[in-house]
Amino acid sequence: MKLPPFDYEAPETTAEAIELLAEHDDDASVLAGGQSLIPLLALRLARPAVLIDVNGIGELSGVSASDGQVTIGAVTREYVAEESQTVAESLPLLAAALPFIGHEAIRSRGTIGGSLAHGDPAAELPAVARALDAEFVLRSRAGERLVSAADWFEGYLTTARRPDELLVEVRFPAAGKGTGTSFLEVARRHGDFAIVALATSLTLADGTISDARLAFAGMSDVPVRATEAESLLVGERPSAELFAEAARRATADIDPPSDLHGSAEYRRKVAAALVRRGLRAAADNAIEGQ
């Protein structure tokens, strides 16, 4: 499977990339790490006339922290985030999820923004972004636009990004005091896409849950939050009974896909088990960190 022909542009600045996107609009695809786009090209599932390679735009890479927020440039490679001290300290949920992405060689090239803009519902980063209510920063000729994670994922491999917009950075709220997190995944083989994965974040104040986030990968055509279970948890004290009830609520109204990796029923059972384990692990982490 050889790639179909395309024209190739390698802008060196964000401004140049935006001009190219404005010019080519729907005919162009943005090439970041290429770990999803190149296979799509090889399989002829994508046929862009022009590839706009953003790997040479230095200003789109990097991790920085300020005012309780961690900003990750869209072209920051996954292994760079994995090795980042800032990510380890301020975004423990992201740090826990990164090793699950593909394999080491994939993370050498794959980028944070690339995975989020690709929007695979079984991928790890979309679930993390949903759990943490990340903010997506888009730039186009018209200026800058912010999109919340709740609005970013519109459907299978479909995001709120318009063809003329470039995802330039993603902003995550840093984990505060009393917050514990956990990332769990069930896959046939390490590095495969998740059959089900769960990103969990719990915040405890005086032994009571003040904030709870549960976001699934692999359970729908977008990463989904278990909002009913989250509201059940807030105001309660952590217990096995509470977590079991949260697992029932989280999986009661969800309609997961069936495929050769697992039936809908199997996914629902796995999801419930992950909620129980994820909440326990996140609560333990939160208590240790207090």
Partner: protein, 157 residues
């Protein structure tokens, strides 16, 4: 469209004018005659085309050749010294790590990166590091044995 590029491959400066759509794997094989890098699935699943670029293991079928301009690339041909096997290759030879040999270059390159970053890595870490490479002959155990033997010999030296 074609693009003129210059890169370092196994310590030598190499140039070429690949088509934009040519993958690095095909460029290494077709344009530079470095056919040790194998092309299996051609969409990033099997790991046979793994090479080391600027110190990191990378799937050369998931990268355009023109994106490697200015990079330092090490392929399987760059490992042997003085026509002999290097210590990792020797340990894998001694452990009967391979049967048909198709996946071999990818495994050896991935294991090279692993041993450099984790000289004291344990078997579980090694299995995770090699999880992106597919072998259809061995059942993997002999490959794991070979890399662990190389690690052991490296520590003894």
């Amino acid at each position: 469209m074609t693009v003129d590029i210059s890169l370092t491959v196994n310590g030598e400066t190499r140039t070429g004018s690949p088509e934009a759509r040519k993958t690095l794997a095909d460029f290494l094989r077709d344009d530079l005659d470095l056919t040790g890098t194998h092309v299996g699935c051609e969409h990033g699943v099997c790991g046979a085309c793994t090479v080391i670029i600027d110190g990191r293991p990378v799937r050369s079928c998931l990268m355009l050749a023109i994106q490697a301009a200015g990079s330092e690339v090490t392929t399987i041909e760059g490992l042997a010294t003085d026509g002999g096997l290097n210590p990792l290759q020797q340990a894998m030879w001694d452990s009967h790590s391979f049967q048909c040999g198709f996946c071999t270059p990818g495994f050896v390159m991935q294991a090279t990166a692993f041993l450099r970053d984790h000289p004291d890595g344990d078997e579980q870490q090694l299995r995770e590091a090699l999880s992106g490479n597919i072998c259809r002959c061995t059942g993997y155990q002999s490959i794991i044995d070979g890399v662990l033997l190389a690690a052991e010999r490296n520590r003894e030296r």
